[in-house]
């Protein structure tokens, strides 16, 4: 497809709003007569709330009410069904009973006239608990195995026999600490009841989902709810489904008859607003002497909470990544006493690919083979799991291009052999991969008499650039310039769009917008060829769209706006739907890439830093290469944190979170930024959708931690199998 706008670097259409403060984030919203909510978190992780002491708090200035068990509307649980799009992050309702399942669980919500008054009163609430022993702080602190999940297993061939008979094998166990999303914008809700309708402003990655969950929980018909999320300061997955603060806030607003806004503190956000679960993974790989994989077994355990059954699917990529006849994956799930985990950027596969790609590096060492060569020898030309051909796979090009740009051929394989002054240089690599997902979607487009176009979809822009790619799509197909295109997202009453998750919005929403736009064109052509129209009597099929105008084969050209104005019409509309079709049974859809990493290790002062990352990623067509590259770069930064510093520290004695803030939970800062060179291959995947795009928000995070860990091994000769690789694990003591 020869394109004018799509595939070209495009500045964000909402950039001006963000720079000038006009972008209306949830916390910016004010309602008349509004109150502020502030949750009171439990300070134990396992036990029962015996008594709340509220008298002091109630008497404090500005306090209107304090909600808690026994003083809160009676609500319903949400069915929590993916099919019916009413999923929630915590199934249990706030204040449902007096059981405490995790540190930070809300035991009350203080509502006051100001935020500061609500917070001060929340601090003045005291609770008596009956503590119970045996709180499980983390999978990392226990030998418990959890229960085996039948839903997550897969196997082919006879991996046990093949392993036993193979000449070269490795068998290692890897741990990854729980991580926090650390999205810049904390969770927040403004709930308002107007004429029995519930209007909610929420920082949400799924306005349609939250809409349906709210309707179920409050027993309302769907049309009596509206969820708005125009701008989101990111979420990385922890805003996909609704959290208890939103339910508590809406319940309080209902009881008080006044709007209530609740903004979580960073501490609350980290304790009870989602996390990537810790994991333990055993990898058993075996190869023949030439490095061909003959057996792969990947057995995982992850955490969930006592308030949800969330499962991070760790092994889901493993059967598809390499050609191997004998494969088995299994997964166990262990309940722990902390706030429930939820999807976090490339959930499951980020953890699973880390273990697999580290294990492959270990196998390469056993084979005395270059780790890149090992991956090439096991290249999967079709999807070995589904046995379907790939819709479009160019991983070999990623390997070749990234290796060349990195200078991989100059690598001395001996650990510690490459030095620069006080520093030892380590080079490592890993494969990246993420499935290409697509869901059904609806959209609406309006062509207006002033020549502008409005496109609307009930998905949302979580900061990744969805507004811009929707505008690009309209501009591409209509010829209307970007400045005359208005994009409306983030309202649950718009035609239903997808969650901003799974890297699926691009492939899901753009075909629906295109369908709606084409239907709007048809409506316009009907007007144009009808009575009094500029092309009266012409065959609508003969008219073409060009530069924001209709054109016939005689060279006559009338702009959209002119046409509508002539007919005294304000606008014409098009509704459109799009969904994946038969292609799902014909191809396997997945994106691939390769990361190459240089670390610097100064053994004299135990300083480990990532110095350089070179990545080549194939995501099909990048609709907006600027934003797409930015997604991969951001993922790499996140991966550096995962590899080296990030860990939610739960006190093993009582499962309370110790590092619940930006200072003590260590994400990379600017000074940690390496030189990052991201290349996006441009191979449109038209088998997947008409725009050839597979999505880009998550793939960059997969494999990066393994590439770093493999580079650490190359520098130090030490294989650190537990993330994060903090300096005490590497230093010589």
């Amino acid at each position: 497809m020869d394109t004018q706008v799509i595939g070209h670097r495009t500045p964000r259409v909402d950039g001006e709003f963000k720079l000038t403060g006009r972008a209306d984030y949830t916390v910016d919203w004010q309602a008349q007569n509004m109150l502020y909510g502030y949750p009171v978190p439990a300070s134990i992780a396992h036990g029962t709330l015996e008594k709340l002491h509220l008298d002091t708090a109630r008497a404090m200035p500005g306090v209107v009410d304090i909600f808690h068990h026994g003083h809160f509307p009676k609500l319903y649980r949400s069915p929590n069904s993916p099919t019916h799009q009413d999923q929630v992050s915590e199934v249990r309702l706030p204040f449902e009973d007096e059981r405490i399942h995790y540190d930070g669980q809300y035991i009350a919500l203080v509502v006051a006239e100001s935020f500061e008054q609500a917070r001060a009163a929340a601090h003045a609430v005291h609770a008596d608990y009956r503590r119970e022993s045996g709180a499980i702080a983390s999978l990392l602190d226990t030998d418990r195995e959890g229960r085996l999940l039948a839903s997550e297993g897969a196997s082919r061939g006879d991996p046990e026999k093949a392993f036993d008979e193979a000449p070269v094998k490795i068998d290692h166990t890897y741990h990854i600490a729980a991580e926090s999303h650390m999205q810049m914008e904390v969770h927040a809700t403004l709930a308002e009841w107007r004429d029995e309708r519930l209007i909610v402003h929420e920082s949400s990655q799924g306005v349609v989902y939250q809409h349906k969950a709210m309707a179920r929980i409050f027993g309302l018909p769907d049309e009596s709810v509206e969820v708005v999320s125009h701008y989101i300061g990111s979420g990385f997955g922890n805003k996909l489904f609704m959290w208890p603060h939103a339910v508590a806030t809406a319940g309080a607003a209902q009881m008080l008859g006044r709007p209530v806004k609740t903004i979580l503190s960073r501490q609350q956000d980290m304790e009870s607003g989602g996390n990537r679960p810790a994991s333990r993974q055993r990898l058993r790989l075996a190869a023949d002497p030439d490095g061909r994989l003959v057996s792969m077994r990947h057995d995982s355990t992850t955490e969930t909470s006592f308030v949800h059954r969330y499962v991070d699917s760790l092994g889901s990529a493993t059967p598809s990544l390499y050609a191997c006849d004998n494969v088995a994956i299994s997964q166990r799930l262990l309940e722990v006493h902390h706030g429930t985990p939820c999807p976090m950027r490339a959930p499951g596969e980020t953890s699973g690919i880390h273990a697999l790609e580290t294990a492959l590096d270990e196998l390469a060492v056993e084979l005395e083979m270059d780790p890149l060569e090992l991956r090439r020898r096991n290249y999967a030309d079709q999807d070995p799991a589904s046995e379907l051909p790939w819709s479009s796979k160019h991983l070999d090009d990623c390997y070749t291009s990234a290796a060349k740009r990195f200078g991989w051929e100059r690598r001395d394989p001996a650990p510690g052999a490459m030095r620069d002054g006080d520093e030892i240089i380590g080079w490592g690599m890993a494969t990246a991969s993420w499935p290409a997902l697509r869901m059904p979607c609806a959209a609406r487009v309006e062509l207006r008499d002033d020549g502008s176009v409005m496109a609307a979809c009930g998905t949302q822009d979580i900061g990744t650039g969805t507004y811009t790619i929707v505008a690009q799509t309209v501009a591409e197909l209509s010829g209307v310039p970007l400045k005359d295109i208005e994009v409306r997202l983030g309202e649950s009453t718009l035609p239903a769009g997808p969650l901003s998750g799974g890297s699926m919005v691009t492939a899901t929403a753009l075909p629906a917008v295109a369908a709606a736009l084409r239907n709007a064109f048809d409506a316009l052509k009907e007007v144009a060829t009808g009575e009094g129209g500029a092309f009266e009597g012409s065959d609508p099929e003969s008219l073409e769209i060009e530069g924001g105008a209709l054109k016939d084969d005689q060279g006559k050209r009338v702009s959209f706006g002119e046409m509508l104005t002539q007919q005294k019409l304000g606008s014409v509309n098009g509704e459109g739907q799009a969904a994946p079709g038969d292609e799902k049974g014909q191809y396997s859809f997945r994106s691939f890439g390769a990361h190459f990493v240089e670390v610097r290790w100064d053994p004299g002062i135990s300083r480990l830093r990532v110095a350089r990352v070179v990545s080549s990623i194939d995501i099909g067509r990048a609709i907006n290469p600027s934003a797409a590259r930015n997604q991969v770069e951001g993922s790499i930064v996140m991966g550096i944190g995962m590899a080296l510093t990030e860990k939610l520290d739960y006190d093993p004695r009582d499962a309370r979170l110790i590092n619940n803030n930006y200072a003590d939970y260590i994400v990379p800062c600017h000074a940690d930024m390496p030189e990052i060179g991201v290349e996006l291959l441009d191979n449109p995947d038209y088998a997947f959708n008409e725009f050839g795009a597979r999505g880009v928000g998550e793939i960059g995070l997969t494999g990066i931690a393994a590439a770093i860990g493999n580079a650490v091994y190359h520098a130090t000769g030490k294989r650190i199998r537990d993330l994060p690789i903090t300096l005490e694990k590497v230093m010589d003591t």
């Binding site: 004299g604 002062i605 830093r609 006190d651 004695r653 200072a663 800062c669 300096l727």
Partner: protein
């Protein structure tokens, strides 16, 4: 945040004579980088807050005797970039710039940084046991998550690390604090100002409740001394030290004439390693001498479950900092 009374002092006399309630209920505020944070967490609960920002304490001046007098309100940023500091006390400049972030350094004051509170997570959590925050309640850090905690100067009541980088450099350089109170002015050596936790970790320093730090005066620079501040930490910036070393070495003909060494990130107060300094004097400026000094400096270290690695890490910080300082000495 609880309500508190707020007033601005127009001069030092007014600041120290302001009517106030019980000890601990009144707080001075300069940059507020510690106070506001801890008030929001309900850890500090001042009833009265006295703003110091109108006081004329923003000068950095060289005294006739060669010492450098720093007003308590000089920001960390201004101090780090002040020509007299970068020229004569580069160690202090390096230490300041190793601390916090640009935004915090723009706000943080010299006096306030001397008074900086610990980052111990149990101190910051009102539901945890902490003898520093709630005397007699115990110490959850002793057997808890104590990777960031101190090795030196600890007690069975507190192992909280003193967080400042600036103070580590100042204790190495030698300095005097000027304190103003209702009964007049007094001076105290920098090294005597911070207390060890012992059995009263809530008593962190020698400042009386109605006293104010007005100046920090640095000793005259060591002639010919090279210096280096090395901070080892999990990330490259905006992060507390796992171990830091402030080193100053004056070398003549390959022999150490004078050495100064102070440690951060590993002690309950800014830690001057006096015995290590004495051991260095007269020794050859070589790695073996520095390694010996590191051994001496850490000989009293009491590691805990998660922070044992800080012993070798601090050793590395000391040796590398001394090497760099020695190499920077004018007559090596």
């Amino acid at each position: 945040m609880r309500n508190f009374a707020f007033s601005s002092a127009e001069n030092v006399d007014q600041a120290v004579s302001s009517e106030r309630g019980n000890a601990g209920e009144a707080s001075y505020i300069a940059g507020g980088t510690t106070l506001i944070d801890l008030v929001k967490l309900d850890v500090m609960r001042p009833v009265q807050v006295i703003d110091l920002n109108r006081l004329p304490l923003r000068e950095v001046e060289r005294l006739d005797d060669g010492r450098l007098r720093i007003g308590a309100l000089v920001s960390n940023t201004d101090l780090a970039h002040h020509p007299l500091v970068t020229q004569h006390y580069p160690l202090l400049s390096q230490a300041l710039l190793a601390g916090a972030s640009t935004q915090l350094r723009n706000m943080a004051s010299t006096g306030g940084n001397v008074m900086q509170r610990t980052r111990c997570p149990y101190f910051r959590d009102v539901a945890a046991a902490c003898n520093k925050r709630a005397p007699g309640s115990g110490c959850d850090a002793l057997e808890g998550v104590n990777r960031m905690h101190a090795l030196l100067g600890t007690s069975e009541h507190c192992i909280a690390t003193h967080p400042s980088d600036m103070c580590v450099a100042m204790t190495a350089l030698g300095a005097t604090l000027t304190l103003e109170g209702p009964n007049g002015t007094r001076e105290i050596a920098f090294g005597d100002f911070h207390r060890l936790p012992m059995d009263r970790p809530d008593l962190e320093h020698e400042l009386e409740p109605d006293e104010l730090i007005t100046h920090v005066t640095l000793d005259t620079p060591v002639v010919g001394g090279g210096s280096h501040y090395l901070k080892l930490r999990d990330r490259a910036s905006y992060e507390f030290a796992l171990a830091s070393a402030a080193a100053m070495v004056a070398v003549e003909d390959g022999v150490i004439r004078e050495a100064r060494l102070a440690l951060g990130g590993v002690a309950t107060k800014p830690w001057r390693a006096v015995e290590a300094e004495q051991a260095l004097a007269g020794k050859p400026a070589r790695t073996e001498s520095f390694e010996k000094a590191a051994e001496i400096a850490l000989s009293d270290a009491v590691p805990r479950e998660h922070n044992a690695f800080k012993v070798p890490l601090a050793r590395q910080a000391i040796v590398r900092a001394l090497e760099k300082a020695s190499a920077a000495s004018k007559h090596h």
